[in-house]
Amino acid sequence: MQTIVELFDSLCHDLSISVDDSEFVYFIDFQHIMDAARGHTFSNLTPNYRILLENGLISLKYREEDCTNKFCHDYNSVIDSLCILISRICLELDRKKPCNYETKLEWFRNMIDKPAAGFFEAIQRILFLNQIMWQTNHRLLGLGTLDTLLDPFYRSDTAQGKLSKEDVAGALQSFCRILHQDFKYKSNMLLGDTGQIIVLGKSDEKGNYLYNDLTILFIEAIEKLNLPDPKILLRVNKNTPREVLRSAVRCISTGVGAPLLANDDVIVPQLVKYGVPMQDALDYTVSACWEPLICGKDSSLNNLTTLNFMRSLDNLIMRDQLSRITSFEDFKKRYLKYLSWNLNAVKRVVGRHRFQYDPVLSVFMEGCFEKRKDVSHGGAVYNDVGITTVALSNTVNALLNIKEYVFERKLLSLVDVKTMLVTNFKGKEDWIPQLKAGDIRYGHDEDEVISLTNEIIRFVTEETKDFTTYLGGRMKFGLSAPSYIDAAKVFPASFDGRKRGEPFHVHISNDKAAYTEVVNFAAALDYGDNRFNGNVVDLMVTPVFIENNFDKFVDFVFFSIKVGFFQMQMNVISSEKLIAAKENPEAYPNLIVRVWGFSAYFRDLPVEYKDVLIERALRNEHKVS
């Protein structure tokens, strides 16, 4: 059997090279995707593009005398193989002579032994590394902090008059189009779920906001292209200039679902408290959707499995001696006990996970070279693990209902509740509206809800804080998950008024509450300790609302940053358009919506996802209760 290094070498010799008249060279040979099938391949991360921008490949190698272990030899072999591939690309460019081939030839030749010399060359290197990662079956690949990475090249080229802002704007659009072209192959669970996220903007140590021309140019490129992928995440803080926020809101208002806003004022301090040095924390990006990740240094698989908060409540109701529970405090304690048992199952899944040996990724992951260790052996600087969570909103609401109807008003016994749930509210449908109603619900700025939510999530921390993986990594979790539909499909009814199979609520959302109330609620949640693995406020907004209140909406975003949301994303679309697009997809081929943590064509979504969006839009517009 071939070793991983031999497999990669064969790949570099065999894969089919295609060059054309595009501005940049980028190809994935789908017949030669490297699938060693020897364990779990790293994914959901961002390789260190900076390494390839600042160095020629040869200079990354260990000196012969420093090759002290197998990994060092494998690492060097990977670089040799990459150089062979680059030579083959050069030969193909020379043979086919596509548009601008001499410049492209120079870009690729330089890649072997020189740092990138200009803005376009830097973009070509990012694309090359990105295609290598896809070719070697690393999925859900982030692009990194591109405005920061590319800025020195941009400044130098524009200062020397080699490039105009318009040239750059055009190049960024080409770059995005190229990344988008294989989106069907790149998609994971749903079409559009590619993980291709570009992170823009950042903060410095003093809380100043850092951005540049490229920040705005990238946002404008996404706005103009109207493509669901790649997607952008804009880091913001309370000092973010209005110009940047206006640009972001303009892009969001097109309905493209981007940028997702990530609040440095909340995220950076949490990373630092978790033990990440400030300089690294300031460089965070995210995994495929929203889980903070230290760019180019972090091999953490941040969405390894999902904790379903409702599972523990259902288990309690089904398995416990309900007659012995006499108060809500007792009931809550029992819930937490069941939650700890559920977490045992989660820890077991996470604990058994093993990665495949990966010297290709190791070349582009900081820490591996220094430690002389493969990324699968803990070479990266950070090796934590993350889980997502689902149904916290439904669970909090169900607990509050049990408190009210069983223990305070004594209208029902716990066995009555159990019977309702097992029978899917048969003959008790009249209970559903009142279980769903109420002013004290998840997403409302009410002390009781906030306190209960924080008590549950802090408990998860207590139960997970001592867990370590085989690489010594710790476990993080967040309050957002993509599984609000899949995890609910065969899940029994729940006492928040949800019938069997109906979806769980989306992230941190409440489509009936005012936007400011949801933001206040989100800001009051405790994202400390290990609770920072993605916490997204998800809003539905009508286009008319933004059109008529553009400046006020920018004010709202600014206010929300100051209040302290963790992350925020929104769909800007009307229920009317969604319903029309569902009925007549041919008339809306390019309609884009935000799902999970990515944007997708509405036409490509399974019907249940379409229905969730329609129902949420209707609730937001107060057309249904």
């Binding site: 089904m318 416990d320 001696q321 007659s323 077991r348 066995v415 159990k418 097992v422």
Partner: protein, 132 residues
């Protein structure tokens, strides 16, 4: 074989795999039941998994009061332990939990039990094996 049958076999395989992993790690189900406060149990299903569960528990301090099986009339008893029909749980309900061993039938059995003895706690063997 249709998808649901294929999934059923896969589910059984994974559950058995985890059960075996538990045993290799010295984790036995009696400890799980004790931790959950289940001292007296009934086993739903006197088939392969039900009997394996019985074998694991029979020399422990977890008391198996009865089996529940659709073929209660035919089986009558196993090693002196009575096998009853689900309907009879109402009269024999002094158990801490009913452990359901047919993995794919848990929801159906929950629905049936709720009409007969709603206060009786119920757990799937799969969950116990996973959470141990």
């Amino acid at each position: 074989m249709d998808d649901s049958a294929r999934y059923g076999y896969y589910d059984s395989f994974i559950t058995m795999k985890r059960w075996m992993e538990n045993r290799n790690a010295g984790k036995m189900l009696d400890a799980y039941f004790r931790e959950h406060g289940y001292e007296t149990i009934a086993i739903y299903g006197a088939g392969d998994l039900g009997k394996l569960l019985y074998e694991e528990l029979k020399h422990t301090d977890i008391k198996i009061l009865y089996f529940v099986d659709r073929n209660a009339e035919g089986l009558h008893q196993i090693e002196g332990i009575p096998v009853i029909d689900l309907d009879a749980v109402a009269e024999n309900k002094s158990i801490d939990v009913l452990v359901v061993t047919p993995l794919g039938d848990y929801n159906v059995i929950c629905s049936e039990l709720i009409g007969i003895a709603p206060e009786v706690p119920i757990i799937s063997l799969k969950d116990a094996v996973y959470e141990l």
